[in-house]
Amino acid sequence: MRFKNLLIVISTIIVCLVTIVSLTDIPTFKISFEEFERIIEETNSLNTVTAYYLNYRLYDTIFEIFVFTLSIYGVVFFLNSVPSIEKHVPFNDPVMNFYSKFAFIISIVAAIYIALVGHLSPGGGFVAGIVAGTGMMIVSLTKNIDEIKDQFKIENISSYEKLILLSVILLTIFPVLIGKRSFQNFLPLGKTGRILSAGFIPLFDLLIFLKVMFGSWSITFYFIKHRGVV
């Protein structure tokens, strides 16, 4: 048993060293500023990373959203067959009760801002969704499970998620109906630097934000419901 482990470690170290040595062959290439200007001219998005993953590589991003949705359905489905705890005890700390509401509001506002300016500055739908999901998790640590169910209408969230997925698919195939290619940016590009510019990139950012927010929050809610706070 010892010998086998030693062999695994030694062979992994050898492969690791070979990979590090082979790094010297990676070429360094500069991207010229004209390339960036061409990207901005075509997509009108100042953040070129967003221009890539929501315009040129949109097909890839759509299927990443599918994978995310499927894994959340898996979490909810399998957690329902795990035995849940009998008595749910939330955090009962006055400081935390007070400040969790502030943290919730601040994180929701920050998330909406980050999602809306995803094509102008650092940010985007995925990051904003995680920020909002974290705020929702903080506020649901201090409340009773029935109170959370009443306030957030937990039974509607899966139907919202289905609606968002459907609208993402419809947005990608809608250009076919008006005589353009599918996955093409069909909205007007607008003026560079405005929030309402760059075609459908802010729309997709907003949809991905809602998707990731509901997804990450339903994950944390079902974990709190079935496993307790601590």
Partner: protein, 115 residues
């Protein structure tokens, strides 16, 4: 360059943990470490071509030393996906643990060999 070497080291540390650890939760933690290493590798790859973030400021004409946006755009979706898939595997481990009442891989598979 130092970022790439460190990311490869992180990835292989996670790989060793995935193989050698017997506890299922620690195995999944190692998979998370591997995920982090791969993300760091892509970020370091785009850091090689320039030091500044690839966000164009319209006021500054002809910015120099901008990073390559393509590796970042490839890896940005995988962060959230990695979180979701890790949670899913954690739920599956919970299901397995509640049926077999152990987290040891050897005991779940019913092996007792000591070779």
């Amino acid at each position: 360059m130092i970022i790439l070497i460190c990311s490869i080291l992180i990835t292989f540390i996670g790989f060793i943990g995935t193989i050698l650890k017997k506890n299922l939760i620690l195995k999944m933690l190692s998979v998370g470490v591997m995920n982090t290493g791969v993300i760091t590798f892509f970020v370091g790859l785009s850091y090689r071509s320039g030091k500044a973030a690839p966000i164009i400021d319209k006021l500054l004409k002809n910015q120099q030393d901008l990073a390559d946006p393509i590796p970042q755009a490839v890896i940005i979706t995988s962060i959230v996906i990695g979180f979701a898939v890790l949670t899913f595997s954690l739920v599956y481990i919970m299901l397995l643990t509640s049926r077999r009442s152990t987290m040891d891989v050897k005991r779940i598979e019913g092996e007792t060999d000591e070779s």
